[in-house]
């Protein structure tokens, strides 16, 4: 979905809330992404092994095991009985993301998000339009394909091409040609398909989507009556289809919570919204704030 707006994206929010106010969640997200990546560098650089391993599997302070659950699903279908350490690690990851929002992984941890965000930023800057329209359901097909292919070959197939772990492992253990995969994703999103990778094809995102089906942390269009239809949230959102039901649900008596598990909890809608319609809340907080008259006037 490409949304055409007649002003620059985020202009109103910038005027209304200042630079920091209109980039708060973006900054926090970048800090988080850098934080999670840098955790893995403490050991190799200082000799103090805060976190060993990488996003596929890690051990924090020689105590806390974490494992990528999708990897174990593939390993299971490849016919391998998985050891307890890995199962505990995966269970912790699943519970954490079930609470925080499955695709919170995508926008707050995954290093490829920085690449595709950069690609999308450049795409907007260069005014590139069009490209291949992929189905947003394609990622679930890719996910299913990974499981089938793992069962057929007996190998963890997605790891052969997964740009997330190839990039992150490359940065930590040695780059090789990892840059080529990253470049491919960047160019794919830039020229071939808008937000093609993260929002349409990546099976890791699809898997975290499933984990986050009942996620506790959600964004709510709590002040949706103040919406001035500037469309900036749609333009900035990597998954704009998730917004409408919540934002425009008043007549249909749909609650203000963005319940779609496609939502990555990136918080950019909160940033770019001048009337501050959105905020983070939990999925059970269906309250809608009556609009403040001042905000309505501004609209």
């Amino acid at each position: 979905m490409t949304v055409v707006t007649n002003h620059r994206l985020g202009e109103d929010a910038l005027k209304e809330k200042g630079w920091f106010g209109s980039h708060k969640w973006l900054i926090l997200r970048r800090v988080s992404q850098i934080f999670f990546l840098s955790l893995f560098f403490v050991g190799p650089l200082t000799g103090f092994w805060l976190v060993k391993g990488n996003l596929a599997g890690s051990l924090t302070l020689d105590f806390l095991p974490l494992t990528d659950p999708l990897m174990l699903v593939q390993s299971f279908f490849a016919g391998h009985s998985i050891a307890t350490d890995a199962l505990i690690g995966a269970a912790i990851v699943i519970v954490a993301y079930a609470l925080l929002g499955g695709r919170t992984y995508c926008s707050w941890v995954c290093p490829i998000n920085v690449v595709t965000d950069a690609s999308n930023w450049l795409r907007q800057r260069m005014g590139l339009k069009g490209g291949v329209q992929l189905s947003r359901k394609a990622r679930y097909w890719v996910l299913a394909m990974c499981v089938v292919a793992s069962a057929a070959t007996g190998a963890i197939v997605w790891e052969m091409v997964n740009p997330i772990t190839i990039l992150q492992r490359g940065l930590i253990f040695g780059v090789g040609f990892a840059w080529a995969v990253v470049l491919a994703v960047f160019l794919f999103d830039l020229f071939v398909s808008r937000r093609g990778w993260c929002s349409h094809l990546c099976p890791v995102g699809a898997f975290y989507s499933l984990i986050g089906l009942l996620s506790l942390t959600r964004v709510s269009a709590v002040r949706r009556s103040a919406c001035n239809n500037c469309m900036d949230c749609y333009a900035v959102c990597p998954e704009p289809q998730v917004i409408s039901p919540a934002l425009k649900g008043e007549e249909k008596e749909v609650g203000p919570i963005i319940l779609s598990s496609d939502c990555t909890n990136c918080g950019r809608c909160i940033d770019v919204c001048a009337p501050d319609v959105f905020e983070f809340t939990n999925r059970f907080n269906g309250e809608v704030e009556p609009s403040a008259p001042a905000l309505k006037e501004a609209a």
Binding site: N54, G57, I82, A86, F177
Partner: protein, 263 residues
């Protein structure tokens, strides 16, 4: 693939058709991608013979289904032996391996890389490093090996952590000089762990002894073969009694004056 969710305003028949067409397109696209990925995954199983897996790794096909490429074994290897394959290496991307000629396995008593593995890709049941089978040393070039040339290099034998079991020096007559003995380094597969120290320390510019994966290094005799002398040993006496042992007939002098006549 699909443009958008078909509008409800359309007739249900056409929207269903549209939905099916879109799904088929996506499924076919992903299917082709999957086929390529599967073929790639299959070809990745044939790793180069010089890449050895850490101790406790099973068959390559099982290893690729269980190793999550986290690198924890690499981190816990105190000798910097193990490394993760980088994209572009011949080894399946992200998996741990070592190259014996560069840094061999030091065969730590506590095998730290094995308990580090969270998935069991490295078999936790391996507690004695002498039971590890990372590969099998093979004296692959008898033409270049100094001991085969009649010299006393012996380095592969000396450095072997399982000396006198995994590698022994077997004595053979040196027919070239006709008065010396050749000490032939001989690998025994029931003790060789495949650590690679012999290959690492081979003094030649290119090693004459190499550690190879078992499937390349080992032959196998037929299931039905019975080795008479072993059967006899097992039974403790001759299998068939009453066989007349006729004398071996040898020429009274062998060529080059070796030997000393028959019986």
């Amino acid at each position: 693939m699909s443009k958008s969710i078909p509008s409800r305003a359309q007739g249900s028949g056409s929207s269903r058709r549209q939905f099916l067409a879109d799904s088929a397109r996506t499924a076919c696209g992903v299917g082709v991608f999957g086929l390529g990925l599967g073929l790639y995954a299959n070809s990745a199983k044939s790793k180069p013979a010089t890449a050895l897996r850490p101790p406790g790794a099973g068959l390559e096909k099982d290893f690729l289904g269980s190793c999550i490429r986290c690198g924890l074994c690499v981190r816990d290897c105190p000798w910097g032996t193990l490394r993760l394959s980088e994209l572009g290496d011949d080894v399946s991307v992200g998996t741990p391996y070592f190259v014996a000629r560069e840094v061999p396995c030091e065969m730590c008593d506590d095998i730290p890389c094995v308990p580090a593995c969270p998935t069991g890709a490295l078999d936790q049941a391996l507690t004695n490093i002498d039971d590890a089978r990372m590969g099998l040393a093979v004296l692959i070039d008898q033409e270049a090996c100094l001991n085969f040339l009649g010299l006393r290099c012996d380095v592969c034998y000396r450095v072997c952590p399982v000396i006198d079991k995994a590698i022994t020096l077997e004595r053979l007559h040196n027919f070239r000089t006709n008065k010396h003995t050749m000490f032939i380094p001989t690998v025994h597969s029931d003790h060789c762990t495949g650590c690679g120290k012999c290959e690492r320390s081979c003094v030649l510019p290119t090693a004459a002894i190499r550690v190879l994966p078992h499937k390349l290094a080992k032959g196998k005799i037929g299931e039905h073969y019975r080795l008479g002398w072993k059967e006899k040993e097992k039974k403790g006496e001759a299998l068939v009694k009453g066989i007349v042992d006729t004398p071996d007939r040898l020429p009274s002098t062998l060529p080059n004056g070796v030997g000393g006549g028959g019986q």
